[in-house]
């Protein structure tokens, strides 16, 4: 820990008064300024993790001033972006803005990007040149892509011809336009990434909902999933759903059976696998992933390309005073999901409130559920409840798990309506 632990004499005696708990506070990075003097938290990224953390900080302790840095005026949620591809939602339906966070929660929302972090001084520099001081910083930048992982691919190609649609917005629209322009009888190739990546069931929900669209509009078409992995999230449930709703339309090829792609040719719309070539009318290649760029620039990542954290408060184990949440963090057994990012944002907010009061945070409790829509009135889910043990964040045995196989139509329909209920509530809980 390179950081100077400056604590005023008055605060130090306060610390002593709290006894054993105060002593263990030393395990959490002390902000560069004496605590109690000011309570300024800066949050980088207004997505599922960052926006929830900012809102809950203000809700739990209105004496904290919170600044949220997010370049986008309109945030399109990845959750439900596959529903847009199916024609079940519009881009407008998945658009969120920062008006409520600004006006109701009195969060200083700055439409800019963070370009540098000085952990020793406790400052964040923005693209505009503005410098923000913080007592604690939260970083929730989401993901970035490893563009050089697949020869022939590039960011420019992704922006014009081979969309990933794994950050919602223009990418979602590009993929949707390609599906609309495709002939009946065309082939859609989906290439999911290797682990770990955001939203493990995402590519397979996408295959389902593209199939929903094709079945109605272009029924002679096919979907080929070329996967580097040999198994995937909710596999049995997805396959059962595909057989029921889209028989013969979706083929999944695993890594060992030639699913791993080794080359892309955007001009001829061809991907090369270890077993041969496949031509697609639409190619949705989702590259392998790493933490968002600012996490690298701020020195918060380790050799894995993600950010190691102290699981009590999500404080970086590299730079004290900086908390990393959401997809960018290494959160033990938790998957990278919007639900998980939100849960981590709330745990980090509650911990920061305590730390800024000179108190020890409570033991964390974390949660996740990913709903996937396979067809109208047909949804499945995977749930997990997590706690901290000596092995880190682990899933509680006996809890969580999947929608049962062979569930009756009523239950699958109920799950589809609860998926909508979940979406509406998490959106309202985060931006509303």
């Amino acid at each position: 820990m390179k950081m100077s632990h400056k604590i005023s004499r008055r605060d130090f005696s306060k610390l002593l008064l709290t006894g054993a708990a105060g002593a263990s506070l030393g395990l959490f990075g002390t902000p560069s300024k004496a605590f109690g003097a000011s309570k300024r938290v800066v949050v980088i990224g207004g997505g599922f993790g960052g926006a929830a953390a900012a809102k809950y900080l203000r809700k739990l302790d209105p004496s904290i001033s919170v600044t949220l840095v997010e370049p986008k005026a309109v945030f399109h949620t990845c959750p439900f972006s596959n529903w847009v591809l199916a024609g079940l939602r519009t881009m407008g339906d998945i658009s969120q803005t920062y008006a409520v966070l600004r006006n109701k929660y009195q969060i200083n929302v700055i439409a800019d990007s963070a370009v540098a972090v000085d952990a020793a001084r406790g400052t964040v520099k923005l693209k505009s040149g503005m410098v923000l001081n913080y007592d604690r910083l939260i970083v929730s930048p989401g993901i970035d892509f490893k563009w050089d992982a697949i020869p022939g691919h590039s960011e420019a190609l992704a922006n014009t011809k081979i969309p990933h649609a794994y950050q919602a917005g223009a990418q979602t629209v590009l993929l949707q336009n390609q599906l609309h322009a495709m002939r009946n009888g065309g082939k859609v190739i989906i290439c999911p990434p290797s682990n770990p990546f955001r939203c493990p069931p995402g590519p397979y929900e996408r295959a389902s909902l593209i199939a929903h669209y094709l079945k109605a509009k272009k029924p002679l078409s096919k979907i080929l999933i070329l996967d580097p992995k040999d198994k995937f999230s909710k596999q049995g449930l997805f396959k059962q759903g595909w057989e029921k709703l889209y028989p013969g339309m979706i083929e999944w090829r695993s890594g060992v059976t030639g699913g791993k792609i080794v080359k892309l040719d955007g001009t001829t719309m061809t991907v090369t696998t270890e077993f041969g070539e496949e031509k697609g009318d639409v190619i949705n290649l989702i590259p392998p992933q790493k933490a968002g760029k600012i996490a690298f620039d701020a020195g918060l990542t380790d050799a894995s390309g993600w950010c190691p954290i102290n699981p009590v408060s999500f404080e970086s184990t590299i730079h004290p005073g900086i908390h990393v949440i959401g997809d960018a963090s290494v959160a033990g057994a938790m998957p990278k999901s919007g639900f998980a990012a939100s849960s981590q944002g709330k745990v980090a907010a509650a911990a920061i409130v305590r730390l800024l009061q000179g108190k020890v945070p409570a033991s964390p409790s974390l949660v996740n559920t990913c709903y996937s829509l396979i067809g109208t009135d047909y949804a499945i889910s995977v749930a997990g409840v997590y706690k901290l043990t000596a092995d880190g964040i682990v899933e509680i045995q006996g809890a969580g798990g999947l929608t049962p196989m062979n569930a009756d139509a009523d239950q699958l329909k109920e799950e589809a309506s609860f998926a909508v209920g979940w979406y509406n509530n998490i959106i309202h809980d985060t931006w509303g």
Binding site: P311, V312, A350, A362, S365, E415, V420
Partner: protein, 112 residues
């Protein structure tokens, strides 16, 4: 790393291990919110809405009494009450944790 984890574990206030029924002042009787009860209860808001005030198709839980939430959670946990997803969540909490959660939400209720 493991050594650090053990230290962090020991450091957190109201750690899961230290939590026995009656070992912490219950939130219902004091104005201060139990920090562990708060953290546990924040897990419900993504589905049930901020403070349990659902705006969607999942039932709201705000305004429910401590005993209502507690007995519903215990029924989901045992499987006595049918659910699509709640039993998978309720099984993740000890009875003492369920009590803390129920007390947290019970604070907003007129019937205790």
């Amino acid at each position: 790393m493991a050594a650090n984890l053990r230290l962090w574990l020991a450091a957190c206030a109201f750690s899961a291990a230290a939590l026995l029924p009656g070992s912490v002042a219950s939130a219902a009787n004091t104005s201060e919110v139990n920090p562990r009860g708060l953290v546990l209860s924040l897990s419900c808001s993504s589905c049930h809405g901020t403070d349990g005030k659902s705006v969607g198709l999942i039932p709201p839980i705000n305004g429910r009494s401590t005993s209502y939430i507690e007995s519903a959670m215990l029924a989901f946990k045992s499987g006595a009450r049918y659910s699509t997803v709640m039993s998978r969540h309720a099984k993740g909490y000890t009875d003492a944790e369920i009590r803390l959660i129920a007390e947290y939400f019970g604070r907003f209720s007129r019937n205790k």
